[in-house]
């Protein structure tokens, strides 16, 4: 059984959504397509099914390997288009995972920029009650050097945050 950590905000810190004691109505789950992100989607699906909440799946930013970039340099490929299509792929896979776990309707969003900031903006815009994230995404080295996205979100997010290991 997976152990998830729920970081609850005190009442005066809350800026959106309902009380922590109440059932969540909107769940925002952020994924980058990594195993950690996939586990976050699975957890969000179970939670949404149990509480009949709406799910918003968000993917932020994108990466392209050096080999792929070098290939694009040779064929005049457009990085922005590749990034958009990668984001679409991640969201499609997340939708399939949600469906497999019984969640048929979900709002899919892709965005670009600083992941922590974009996720917080989305949480505010969607008036989310809970944010579900993986503990580790793809950027392990960057996480070690700069602090991980999940660490930032547990400190800064304006709602409860569930960090999936």
């Amino acid at each position: 059984m997976m152990e998830c950590r729920l970081h609850c905000k005190s009442e005066n810190e809350k800026t959106c959504g309902s009380n922590a004691k109440q059932m969540p109505r909107v769940i925002v789950v952020a994924t980058d397509g990594s195993p950690g992100g996939n586990r976050a989607v699975d957890t969000a699906a179970r939670l949404a099914k149990a509480t009949a909440s709406d799910v918003v799946v968000l993917t932020v930013g994108g990466n392209i390997s050096g080999a792929e970039l070098r290939r694009l340099a040779g064929i005049e490929g457009d990085v922005s288009e590749v990034l958009e299509s990668r984001a679409k792929q991640i969201l499609d896979r997340a939708r399939k995972r949600l469906r497999r776990r019984g969640v048929t309707a979900a709002k899919l969003q892709s965005a670009w920029g600083d992941p922590a900031q974009v996720i917080i903006d989305t949480v505010r815009r969607e008036k989310a009650d809970i944010l579900v994230i993986g503990r580790r995404g793809r950027g392990r080295l960057a996480g070690l050097l700069l602090g991980s996205v999940s660490q930032k979100l547990t400190s800064l997010a304006p709602c409860n945050v569930m960090v999936v290991p």
Partner: protein, 371 residues
């Protein structure tokens, strides 16, 4: 809303270069006498610089020969000779900078005036952005890209000319001073004439091959990095021009996201550019350390056998490094070439867009006359 794609990524790039060259070469065609005079002056400076390089190389030999003989009088003469040689070399270097930059400034002025005139004529600048793809951010193309596109060809052409002449001149130094070497193989003695020439060709070939392996993506990556930077600037400009006072509406959020996406693309290309430079630095810095040492090692057998004096050894080693440096023209100018190509493409794109607008104006005029 996505921005229109750059014309460079849609069209074949050859028409862009030829359109750029059509306008850029106007300066050399119209002011033929002045341009030819300047070109001859620059060539003369390169030839004089080469002559001084050969004289300094010769001075190097004489100085070390005097040192080996512990001949104080000869050393004093060499020291006196060095001053006029150094003064002439410094003066020529300064003259070369003046000549190159004067040519670059004049060429840039002519091309910029031409582009600005076409851009301003009949208020074309008002219609350009919205009508024709590939004309985004014309201010940057006129101000910066024209400068890069006219600066680099002069530097590159002079460097190429100088490299070819340097290689030829110092080949003869290596051939005559290095002479031949005898190598014993399985009891047979093989004589290699001008062995330092073969040595420098093999060494330079190896370095160039390594550079080609390590950095063959560099030009493409530099071009794409520059292009993505230009697209990011265009997206920022478009955002400023099109954004409405009220924020937070869906369309505004979309535009912000487009901006962030362009930034992400820039950052990814920069990351790859960084890795390409890391890879090529491995070769270029290795070459910087190894080239003189390889030269010394190739000369040492003849020096130890007494067939070469210390002065000849230092002269040959210096000539080896100079020829090797001349061979590296392409390698050293990889990035400059890529910068030039991407800027020339962007100027060519703007000129094509202005041509298209001009053609549209003509057809509109004709149709209004028929009415």
């Amino acid at each position: 809303m996505r921005r229109p794609r750059q014309i460079t990524s849609i069209l074949d790039q050859k028409p862009l270069l030829s359109r750029f060259w059509q306008s850029a070469s106007q300066f050399w065609r119209e002011q033929r006498a002045w341009a030819a005079g300047l070109a001859l002056f620059l060539i003369a400076v390169v030839l004089l610089q080469l002559l001084l390089q050969v004289l300094l190389n010769l001075w190097n030999r004489n100085f070390f020969d005097a040192l080996e003989r512990k001949d104080g009088h000869a050393l004093w003469i060499q020291a006196q000779l060095f001053l006029p040689l150094a003064a002439a070399s410094i003066l020529l270097a300064a003259t070369s900078v003046w000549g190159r930059m004067t040519a670059q400034r004049s060429w840039r002025e002519a091309l910029t005036r031409h582009v600005v005139k076409t851009w301003l004529d009949k208020d074309r600048f008002r219609h350009l952005n919205h009508l024709i793809k590939g004309s985004e951010n014309p201010e940057y193309r006129i101000a910066v890209d024209v400068r890069i596109a006219t600066d680099a060809p002069i530097d590159l052409a002079l460097a190429f000319f100088s490299s070819v002449l340097t290689a030829i001149a110092f080949f003869s130094v290596l051939w005559t001073i290095g002479g031949s070497i005898d190598i014993a193989v399985f009891g047979l003695t093989i004589t290699i004439p001008g062995y330092l020439v073969f040595g420098v060709i093999i060494y330079s070939g190896a370095v160039s091959a390594l550079m080609a392996i390590f950095g063959h993506h560099l030009t493409g990556v530099v071009e794409r990095t520059n292009q993505t930077e230009a697209e990011f600037r265009a997206a920022v400009d478009a955002f400023r021009e099109e954004s409405k006072p009220l924020e937070g509406r869906p369309s505004d959020i979309d535009k912000r996201q487009t901006l962030q996406l362009e930034l992400q693309a820039v950052l990814l290309w920069w990351r790859e550019f960084c890795w390409q430079l890391v890879r090529t630095t491995l070769v270029s810095h290795g070459n910087f350390l190894f080239a003189p040492v390889v030269a010394w090692f190739l000369c040492v057998p003849k020096y130890l056998s007494g067939a070469m004096s210390l002065g000849e050894l230092t002269q040959s080693a210096a000539a080896f490094v100079v020829v090797q440096g001349a061979f590296n023209w392409l390698v050293d100018n990889y990035q400059r070439l890529a910068d030039w190509r991407s800027s020339a493409y962007r100027v060519g794109t703007l000129l094509l867009a202005l041509d298209e607008l001009e053609a549209k104006e003509r057809s509109d005029r004709l149709s209004s006359q028929h009415k």
